[in-house]
């Protein structure tokens, strides 16, 4: 064994179990959920990459997951684009979560144009985050979005049905939301680290 492996590389790869809980490294794009940040290799959303969020049904916490991020970005006067949301966003609810609505652009795109509009926004580099609900997105379409996110240095979020979980995806991060018996998040894929074995509970918005 001539090769000298730096200890930090082993620790970062998280193949060594450590008895003492390490300090949570806060990344450049924290999700706003401490428990989630702690398990993600980047300490938050993977920067300038595509994150895929898989849902069993609409309305199980997918916005709760990303609204802290949107609030942080829009309060920093960065632009956020929402492409073809499945419902009308409720302004009062979004503002309660701290989102500055002046910085949020909504785009109504037809089924065929969702991916095009998303890619345009990502590639432009003028948005901090782009959220999209594509109807039909295959592996190639998602790869285009991933490349566009890298080009424009933008956070990309794609919301899809859970049935796509079995298909491979080029996204840097795949999260699955689960509703009953209690809302929780499974990390299904995360680039640059091992997939954590446990689900992370997602607190309710109303107590």
């Amino acid at each position: 064994m001539n090769a000298v492996v730096p200890l930090s590389a082993l620790l970062d790869a998280r193949q060594v179990w450590r008895g003492r809980t390490p300090e949570v490294r806060v990344g450049d794009q924290p999700t706003g959920w401490r428990a989630l940040d702690a398990v993600l290799p980047a300490g938050g959303w993977p920067e300038a990459s595509l994150s895929e969020i898989l849902l069993p049904v609409d309305g199980v916490g997918e916005l709760r997951l990303v609204l802290p991020t949107l609030a942080r970005l829009t309060q920093g006067q960065r632009n956020v684009v929402i492409v073809s949301p499945p419902y009308t966003p409720c302004v009062a609810g979004w503002r309660q979560q701290g989102v500055n609505m002046r910085r949020v652009e909504f785009v109504d795109a037809g089924e065929k144009d969702v991916l095009w509009a998303t890619e345009q926004c990502l590639r432009s580099g003028s948005c901090a985050a782009v959220l999209a609900w594509p109807h039909h997105a295959d592996d190639r379409a998602l790869r285009r979005l991933q490349v566009a996110a890298v080009t424009g240095q933008t956070l990309a979020f794609v919301f899809r049905d859970r049935s796509h979980l079995s298909n491979a995806s080029p996204a840097a991060l795949r999260l699955e939301l689960e509703a009953p018996p209690r809302p929780q998040i499974w990390v299904r894929k995360c680039r640059g680290g091992a997939v954590p074995a446990q689900a992370i509970p997602l607190p309710r918005s109303v107590h």
């Binding site: 309305g59 979004w94 309660q96 785009v107 109504d108 509009a117 580099g125 509703a179 009953p180």
Partner: protein
Amino acid sequence: MLWLCIYLPSLALDGILRRRPTEGPLVLVDGPINARTIVSANETARAAGLHVGQRLSAAQALLSQFEAIPYDRESVERWHQFLAAVAYRYSSEVSLLPHAIVLEVSKSMGLFGPWPRLESMLRADFTDLGFRHRIAAAPTAHAAHVLTMVSDGQAVLSSDTLRNALQRVPIARSRLPANALAALPSMGIRTLGQVLALPRDGLRRRFGAELLASLDRLTGDLASGLELYRPPDTFDLHIELLHEVENQSALVFPVRRMVDDLAAYLAGRDGGVQRFLLRLEHREGRFTDVPVGLLASERDGALLFEFARGRLEHLTLPEPVLALRLIARDLPAFVPAGRDLFDERPANALPIEQVRERLRARLGDGAVYRLGSTQDPRPERAQHEATHDQAPIEPHPRPTWLLPRPIPLRGENPIILAGPERLETGWWDDGQVCRDYYVIETSLGQEAWAFCAPDEQTGWMIHGWFA
């Protein structure tokens, strides 16, 4: 004072060639129908022996195949005006001379740089627009005009050297009054220098005061007396297509040219355009209008073209197009977007406004919007499309998704997480509601915002999701 003159030797021909580039021989003809003569010929035609002043019948004897287009005075006048508007970008004192544009540039050089740079900028502009030109500068407008007749790129920057420069100009190119032009060579006078050396009294007796005035305007002893050009406040460009166009993709090239002309005009008046109209003209006066509206004023040619093309692509032509017209009346001031010195965005980032325009061009004008709150407590009317948002934050729980219309809840009884919040309002405009709103959890684990009739807790209607 320093006047720059741009001489346009083939204004009419260039105006036609930029619309339909052709390699083959092409001439412009003018005159009575039975005695047509060539007034302008392109290089291929000249190489074949056709020349200006030749009878059309003689030309047809020389060359069997060539295009002859009637000389259109009106379109030449339009191009002349248009190029003056382009030159207006460089100076506020622009005047029209026959086949030429003169502009006073002594102050412009402070802004655009010394003479060589200013000259190359103007040349680049005119070359891009497809007009051949010759440029000269002199302390008087008329002298600059005469200098373009003998050479290209000559700059006489001071009055002292002006007389020297004019010395060698042949009489035929001197643009003096016609009677003098005809008589002087036969008197043995071949250059302007010789005319200037003649005694003035004798010249006045022989040719009248007009010749002396022309000479004085050349040397600057008399004010040029030119009328200053003022750019029009609206842009209206009309071009005839050479054949009927049935496919919209064939319109792309002419539209590109027109939009570039609009951009050049806008740059000249330091303005932008917010709304313009592309009119596709069909037979018998019918037309199709393609309005192009922008969120903010723009003036970049490539951008304007992209938006115009986006609108054109959606169009199916009802009948063939014969001519195109571009009308821009709404020309507000152009305010370039401010950029932060310590900008965090990537260097090649497009401004968000351009992204919005690009999306609107393809998806429709109403497809990109922002939402803001209103003062109305009813959820259906609590928000609208707006760019500002000043209402206070709602203290009661509000969902993040709102359903376009409430849907009934099926299945088991839900778990009530919060509520009720009674909304009883809207009596003033026939939209009265009286509901108790609750936050509930459905059997699928979704958190919903639902209402029922006051004090009933049955007949749940879901109005939103706490997603």
